[in-house]
Amino acid sequence: MPGYALQRLAQAIIVMMVISVMVFAGVHAVGNPIDVLISPDATQAIREQAIRAYGLDQPLWRQYLDFLGRLARGDFGRSFLYNMPVLDLIASRLPATLELTLAAVIGATALGVPLGIYAGYRPSSILSRAIMAASILGFSVPTFWIGLVLIFVFAVNLGWLPAGGRGATVSVLGVEWSFLTLDGLRHLLLPALNLSLFKFAMMVRLARAGTRELMLTDTIKFARAAGESEWTILSRHVLRLIAIPIVTVFGLEFGSTLAFAVVTETIFSWPGVGKLIIDSISSLDRPVMVAYLMLVALLFIVINLLVDLAYAALDPRLRAQHA
């Protein structure tokens, strides 16, 4: 097991290095940030001064090494646009995104898995067909359009819920949270619903497909032949057996939900990192882009590691392999 853990750690470090090169090389190729930073009327002297100030006159590999060194010190540079340390900027935006993403993924799983199991257990019932129709829609309809419709129906037409913003927040441990106030919850509901629909559809499909295949297996027939009740079979056998693919997708989807938050945050003016990255892409705010991509990559690696650990906890066969 320690050998396996070291192996995974080495893997993670290699991946991070590769990603840092790709991110740096990729982002460097985006336009010329000086054009954005400096007014076109600025004198050549001012231009050169700015270029030196941001280290843009150095050769590429030099910039990369500097960049790595700063990363190691936790210094991601300053945002060109907001003129503040990138890390602080992201830290101030991250809780909003995490809150939104967690609400969406947990909600989608908590609702999608039971409904999916039901749809796989009774594939021909009317409710199952309705669930599947909903999931096909959720799977197909682009997130941004659903967001528009939600705003149109609930905010514009019915006026029940706010169309954007984060609402009132409460500060806990120096971080602002929306879900602790009623107003915040009202603001959270629509964007979370919007973001969760795709994940919900995915969970339903996954749980349904797994259950449908399982119900035909000898494992389930054998449990029935032993006289176990349908509830026992669903809760003790089926749920355990479909947990592995669901945990995988839960992990992977947490990452992609984080990414899709870009869309939802844009529509609902949710002040998270998604909106930040869109703004930084359109304004070529290089340090923000780099930091955001590195952050996402790091999150992915951590999530993948957690998923693997969860696997080992769920599947005794894997425990044996890694021992």
């Binding site: 990729g26 682009p142 359009w145 528009l148 996402v296």
Partner: protein, 292 residues
């Protein structure tokens, strides 16, 4: 079992699912309508000289200066929405198909190559593919769209980069599975040359799962392209795709002019849902674990 080739037997089974059949009909109709858009659209929405600002943002049913009915209303530039949607569909489908075809070719080749080469080449290729698969497509497309700038081919490149990995993974899995089957061993032990066995036996048998991925991915590219356009990173404004139409209508939504965003969205959804329904049926039919 009657005397059909595998393909016609497949079609017979497909035909039995009426929902999937209807979806296939919708896909065909939308394709046809998009193809014939210049002939059936009441207006050429890209001809700016014909647009009248007095016709802008009119509700469905309005009769504009052109003297014909705007069945779905008009947009902020005074375009007939129905025409704009037909032309938009054309662009969306074109982008989806081109990106899908390129991603299919690159991905399937890479995956099949990895499966046959084996060893560290396979390990490396599949590692990269897995890594990329765990990275959200939208983020990748966003960054690429930002890097490469705006334009049709830049957008296609972003879509391909976001999607080839699915094809590679599927092709690798299918080719590895087929390779281990007895009929391949039988062909190799005849002996027949490996390239011939790959081209004539293995690849044709890898096609079905790839086709499933292709249907889903074409639908995904269309959605992704719309999303990128919506975020302002898509095609140039002069030839709006469906995503751009929706984005342009967004600001009028709050004032109750829903049609500018809603109708292009509906067209998009009908197309994507229909493709996914077809893909689902194909997938179910190919799943050996659901057969008895």
């Amino acid at each position: 079992m009657t005397g059909e080739a595998p393909l016609s037997a497949f079609w017979l089974e497909f035909r039995r699912n009426r929902v999937a059949l209807a979806a296939l009909g919708v896909v065909a109709t939308v394709l046809l309508v998009a193809l014939l858009a210049p002939l059936i659209a009441p207006q050429d929405p890209y001809d700016l000289s014909r647009l009248r600002l007095t016709d802008a943002r009119r509700p469905p049913g309005f009769i504009g200066s052109g003297g014909y009915v705007h069945w779905l209303g008009t947009d902020a530039q005074g375009r007939d929405l129905l025409s704009a949607i037909l032309y938009g569909l054309r662009i969306s489908i074109q982008m989806g198909l081109i990106a899908g075809a390129i991603a299919f070719t690159i991905g399937a080749t890479l995956g099949a190559f990895a499966a046959f080469r084996g060893g560290w080449v396979e390990a490396l290729i599949m590692r990269v593919v897995d890594l990329q698969l765990s990275f959200p497509a939208i983020l990748l497309a966003l960054v690429l769209a930002a890097l490469l700038g705006q334009g049709k081919w830049q957008l296609i490149a972003a879509l391909v980069a976001a999607q080839y990995a699915y094809f590679a993974r599927t092709a690798h899995g299918a080719a590895s599975a087929e390779r281990a089957k007895d009929y391949v061993e039988a062909a190799l032990s005849t002996p027949l040359p490996t390239p011939r066995v790959v081209m004539r036996h293995i690849l044709p048998n890898c096609l079905p799962p790839l086709i499933v991925v292709a249907t889903v991915q074409v639908a995904n590219s269309i959605a992704l392209e719309a999303t990128l356009s919506f975020l302002g990173l898509g095609l140039p404004v002069s030839e709006p795709s469906l995503g751009m139409l929706i984005a342009n209508g967004f600001q009028f939504m709050l004032s109750g002019r829903y049609w500018i965003s809603i109708y292009p969205g509906l067209a998009l959804i009908i197309l994507i849902v229909a493709i996914n329904l077809v893909g689902d049926q194909i997938r179910d039919q190919l799943n050996p674990r659901l057969r008895r």
